[in-house]
Point group: C2
Chain length 259, copies 2
């Protein structure tokens, strides 16, 4: 029988927790590093792992994969402070850090980027999470692709440029979307309600994307060019909300009416 | 046994279809008007209704409820061209038309506003749809509230001001959100991908709202005050997208970093 892959997890945050737990089903997690031994120990229990450390210099030299899931701006210092590791592959899980962070420090390296927002206490179906893989050479890419496909059905090769594009798209699709929900929540709170009244509508708005492109799904006063309703709405809003409403409506009008 | 309520549906679009079908389970749909007899007939079959018309002057005088689900700017002319109807209650289903559109034309009137986006071919759980009710007097309000509660578990009284606020909140939470998805989709298409790669992320982003307020759910470079990533992203974007990214990031920075 083939020996299971030996994985060293570096980090014990949300991404490390979800990927580590999924990987522990198809590989052996041999060591977990965290600057918090307590967090490392908690994750080790979930992964059936027997070795934890809070010292980068104690990281094992004989893992097959080193998965670096620490904050973006801590990746470089982790890379510099850890052993080369005898042919093991190093990969980080960040959408915005280039693969070249490993260059000069490690022999084999790549990126293992799950495009999902993880909360520690929340179950995520890793099998549905898109994972984007980059490797510094064909055999490393192949190694990471194969491993990723064992835990997810949605694995794609993506170089650093594409990964960056995914990240900026996610900023629009999630971060800016959340800002819109903040504005809506505040408006409703003025009347003693809250965003929860919009939840069925939000669910359906998202559900529409299963059937039509967002360009075909656009609705609302701006999309109809209904200046009367737009003006009424602007009169109800103040400052930030008015400026935002106006700018976004003009973009929609330009797209749907003026073309 | 109590006689079932007699409902006349005016309109055969998405809202009329979903509300009409739900109402037909708890009341008797006695007539359906549409300027398209074909649409009226199709909906009549779903509602077990035996009378359809494409003539406003032929609308029955003895229904208990006249539900006006036509386009916003057609409501006034429908109201003017139909009989007063002997004590029956008239209600429209619009978020943005004031109740007073009925004043002077009907005796008893109100609003029956479902806060949901409906597609004709898609099943919606009407029981989960928030319905907002306004009546011109207490007994009409009561009548509409009781009826709404028979088809939905989420019924709230809302005057025209609150309804307008709900509408503007929905513009932020849905219409502007959809614009963000258009931008993300376009960005991904430049790389041969599409919004479908973000779907698990979007689902989880929306799912978060079940547990935390949007203000607590905000993530991303602007929320962290990460000017380095923001500048990188701005350099990748052109024109509309760059301006939009910059404006929205500054709003988030102002909210999360500069306060």
């Amino acid at each position: 029988m083939e020996q299971p892959l030996r994985v060293c997890l570096i980090g014990s945050g949300n991404v490390a927790t979800h990927l580590g737990t999924a990987l522990s089903q198809v590989a052996k997690v041999v060591q977990i590093y965290s600057h918090s031994l307590q967090n490392a120990t908690a994750l080790a229990e979930q992964c059936g792992c027997e070795s934890v450390t809070d010292s980068l210099s104690m990281i094992t030299a004989d893992a097959d994969l080193y998965l670096v899931s620490v904050k973006d701006d801590a990746i470089a210092s982790v890379v510099e402070s850890t052993p080369q590791a005898q042919g093991g592959v190093w990969a980080h899980t960040s959408g915005s850090v280039p693969m070249t962070v490993f260059a000069g420090y490690k022999e084999r390296y790549g990126v293992f980027y799950p495009l999902q927002t993880f909360s520690k206490d929340l179950k995520i179906k890793v099998r549905e999470v898109p994972i984007f893989i980059e490797g510094y050479d064909a055999s490393t890419t192949d190694f990471l692709l194969r491993l990723a496909r064992r835990i997810s059905d949605n694995v794609t090769e993506a170089d650093s440029t594409l990964r960056k594009k995914l990240h900026v798209a996610a900023v629009f699709a999630c971060n800016f979307v959340n800002l819109m929900w903040i504005e809506a929540d505040e408006l409703l709170k003025e009347s003693g309600l809250g965003i929860e009244f919009l939840r069925p509508l939000l669910k359906e708005t998202l559900g529409k994307l299963d059937r039509v492109s967002p360009a075909d799904a656009q609705t609302g006063p701006a999309c109809r060019g209904d200046r009367h309703v737009i003006d009424e709405h602007l009169n109800m809003l103040s400052d930030e909300k008015r400026e935002l409403y106006s700018m976004l409506s003009e973009i929609i009008i330009k797209r749907y009416i003026n073309e």
